[in-house]
Point group: C2
Chain length 359, copies 2
C-alpha cells in the first residue's frame, strides 16, 4: 500500500502463475509445458535473428507472422491478431470486447486468470457452474450475457466441448462476443476456427506455448471476424506498438512451417496422456477424460494438497488448486515417458500400494 498508487493498484488481485523452481533433477509437471522441445527449424530461425538487425524495431503489425497464421488456418490476414503470449491476447480481448453492461459469463471452474482480468478492467462477470461431472453445459449459459469466454478444452479439467456445442453457444448469443480460448485444443479437441467465417461474434485464441513447445518465446494469437481483430489492434496500439520481438516473430513462423514435427509432437503427447491416465486409474485415481496435455485427477482416499506435497518431497511438481469443488484434484502435465514413469512410481510409493522406489 502506498499513497502513490492509483486506486486500481490497491484493488488488484494478481494472478499467481505455476512456479518455475530451480531444482536439479526436477520432474516439472505443473505448468503444462511440452515435454519435447520446439522444432529444430524454430531454433535455426531464432539463431538467424541473433544479428545486427536486432538494432531495428520489429514489424509492429507482425505482418509476415500473421500472413503465415492466416495461410495455416485458411483465414484472411485481417482476421489474425498476434500478441506476447495468449495471456496478452486475452488481456486485450477482455478490455476491447468483453466489457459490457450485462455481465461477462465464464465457467466457475476455469482458467483462474479470467477473474483477474475482470478486476483489472472493472468488468462485471458471473461464474456459471460446471455440472456435477465438471462439464460445461451450453444450456446453462441461457441468461443475459454481455459477452462469454470459455476455454475449450476447459482448464484445469481438460474436458472438451464439440464444435457443434460451440456453434450452439454462438447462435444462442448472436449479440454477444464469444471468446473460445483454445490453448489446449491441439491435443484432441475440435477447433472452432471454421466457425469464424459464419459467426461474426466469435474470437478464437491460441497459444504457441503448449503444443508448439514455445512457452519461452511468448507468442499467442487470435482468429476472428475483422471487426473483432480491429478492436484488439486498437487496444494493442494504445498499449505497446511492438509486443513481439524479432526472434519471437521468426521463431513462430518457423514453427508453422514444420507441420510434420508439430503433428508428431501432439501425437506423442496424446499417447503419453493415455498411458499416464491408465497408470493413474490402476493406482485407484478417478481421471477425467482429457483432451489436453494434462490430466485432472483425484484419489478417493488421498487429499489433493497432501498428495501434491508428498510428490514435491520426491522432486515431482504438479499443480493443486485450493478452489471449491476441485481441491481434491491434482492437475498433472503429460511429461516424457521417463517423467510419466517417475510420477507413477512416486505416486505408487506415496500410496503404499506398489513397489517402493529408492528416494
Amino acid at each position: 500500500m502506498s499513497r502513490f498508487w492509483s486506486r486500481l493498484t490497491h484493488d488488484l488481485r494478481p494472478y499467481v502463475p505455476g512456479e518455475q523452481p530451480h531444482m536439479a533433477e526436477l520432474v516439472k509437471l505443473n505448468t503444462n509445458e511440452s515435454p519435447f522441445g520446439p522444432s529444430p527449424r524454430v531454433l535455426e530461425a531464432i539463431r538467424a535473428e541473433a544479428a545486427e538487425t536486432l538494432r531495428l524495431y520489429p514489424d509492429p503489425q507482425a505482418t509476415a507472422l500473421r500472413a503465415a497464421l492466416a495461410a495455416y488456418h485458411r483465414v484472411r490476414l485481417e482476421q489474425v491478431f498476434v500478441g506476447n503470449g495468449s495471456d496478452e491476447v486475452l488481456a486485450h480481448a477482455f478490455a476491447a470486447l468483453l466489457k459490457h453492461d450485462a455481465p461477462l459469463l465464464f465457467p466457475d471452474i476455469t482458467y483462474s486468470f479470467y477473474p483477474v482480468y475482470c478486476r483489472l478492467f472493472d468488468i462485471a462477470y458471473e461464474a456459471v457452474p460446471l455440472d456435477e461431472a465438471l462439464q460445461i453445459r451450453v444450456a446453462d449459459y441461457r441468461r443475459p450475457a454481455g459477452a462469454i469466454i470459455v476455454p475449450n478444452p476447459n482448464a484445469p479439467t481438460g474436458l472438451a466441448l464439440s464444435r457443434g456445442a460451440i456453434a450452439t453457444l454462438l447462435e444462442e448469443h448472436p449479440d454477444a462476443p464469444v471468446v473460445i480460448d483454445e490453448a489446449y485444443v491441439d491435443f484432441g479437441a475440435e477447433t472452432a476456427i471454421p466457425l469464424v467465417e459464419s459467426h461474426p461474434n466469435l474470437l478464437v485464441v491460441h497459444t504457441m506455448s503448449k503444443s508448439r513447445a514455445l512457452a519461452g518465446l511468448r507468442v499467442g494469437y487470435a482468429i476472428g471476424d475483422r471487426d473483432l481483430i480491429e478492436a484488439l489492434t486498437r487496444v494493442k496500439d494504445s498499449f505497446n506498438s511492438y509486443p513481439l520481438g524479432r526472434p519471437a516473430q521468426a521463431g513462430a513462423i518457423a514453427s508453422l512451417e514444420d507441420e510434420a514435427y508439430f503433428q508428431q509432437s501432439c501425437a506423442r503427447v496424446i499417447e503419453g496422456r493415455e498411458r499416464l491416465s491408465r497408470g493413474l486409474v490402476r493406482l485407484g485415481f478417478e481421471v477425467l477424460p482429457s483432451s489436453a496435455n494434462f490430466v485432472f485427477v483425484r484419489h478417493p482416499a488421498h487429499e489433493g494438497a497432501a498428495l501434491a506435497a508428498a510428490l514435491r518431497q520426491q522432486a515431482v511438481i504438479v499443480r493443486h488448486f485450493s478452489a471449491p469443488r476441485i481441491s481434491d484434484y491434482l492437475r498433472i502435465t503429460v511429461g516424457t515417458d521417463g517423467q510419466i514413469d517417475r510420477l507413477l512410481s512416486a505416486v505408487s510409493d506415496i500410496l503404499g500400494s506398489g513397489p517402493t522406489t529408492p528416494s
Copy 2:
C-alpha cells in the same frame, strides 16, 4: 465500429509508430534506432537460448535480469521492474501510478504515446507548455498535480534537464509520483537514478531499444522505490505473467555485461550527432542542442513536411510531426557516418545550396 466492441474500444486514439518500410538502400533515420548492432555477447546469448529449453516458461519475475540491472545501477532487486519494451513499462506505470483525482502533468510537446495511455486508462491530464525555446521549465509544473511524467531528454526536442532540475521537480511534488522517462539518457544527459534512494516518489524508466541497440528484442525497465515497483508488479501480474521471453532476458543480461561496447557505441553516436549538427547548421538549419541520438531541426526557408517528403524521394526517411509549434521541424536520427553523409548530401541537393548528388 462494431456492436461487439467495449465502449473503451470506440474511444481509443491509438499511437502511430514511426514506419518500418521495406525499401532497398533505405537510409532509415525515423525511429531513433542505433546505427550499430548490439554487442556480440548479446548475439551469443540469444543463440544459446535457441534450445530445447524454449519449451519452458521463462522466469516470470525475470530475477536474473533484474539482479543484473540492480547491480549495474547500484540499487536493490526490489527497486527494479522489467517489461516488454519501455512502452509496456510506461503503460503499466500509467495504470498503476499515474491515475489520480488531480490531473497528470506532462509537456505539451513530448512523447506522443502519453495522451494515448491517458485515453486507454481514462486518466485526466494537463499538457504543460514548453517555453519559447522548447525547453521544459520546472517552475511551470507548480500547479495541482496528481502525478507527473517528463522525458529527459525530452522527445522529440532532444533537450535535457539537469539532475538538479529533476530533484527540484521531485521536491516540489513530494506527494505525487513522478516518472522520468530516460529512453535517451545514455547519449549525454544525467540520469535521475541516484535520486531514487532519497525520493520515494521517483520512478525512472529506461529502454534497451536505443543505446543498447536492442529495439528488435523488446526490453525496458524501471528503477524506483520498492512501493512503486510493487505497484507495477501488481498490474503486470494482473495482465501477463511472462512478458519477457528467454531470448530477451538472456540478451538483456549479456548487454549489461559488455560495458565497454556500450560506452563505445554511445560515444560514437554522440560524435555522429555533433558532426550531423554541424553539417545541418552549415546548410542553414536551426539545430536544438541535443542530448539524444537524434536532432530536432528546422530550416528558416523550408517547411518540415515538404523537406521530409523530398528526402523520402531520395530514400532517406526522417520523422515529421504535424503537431502545433513543431510542424516546421524534422527529427533526424543519428546514423552511421555513411548515413549522415547521405542525409547531408540529400538535404543539400534539396536546398539547391550545395553540390547536387546524382539521384
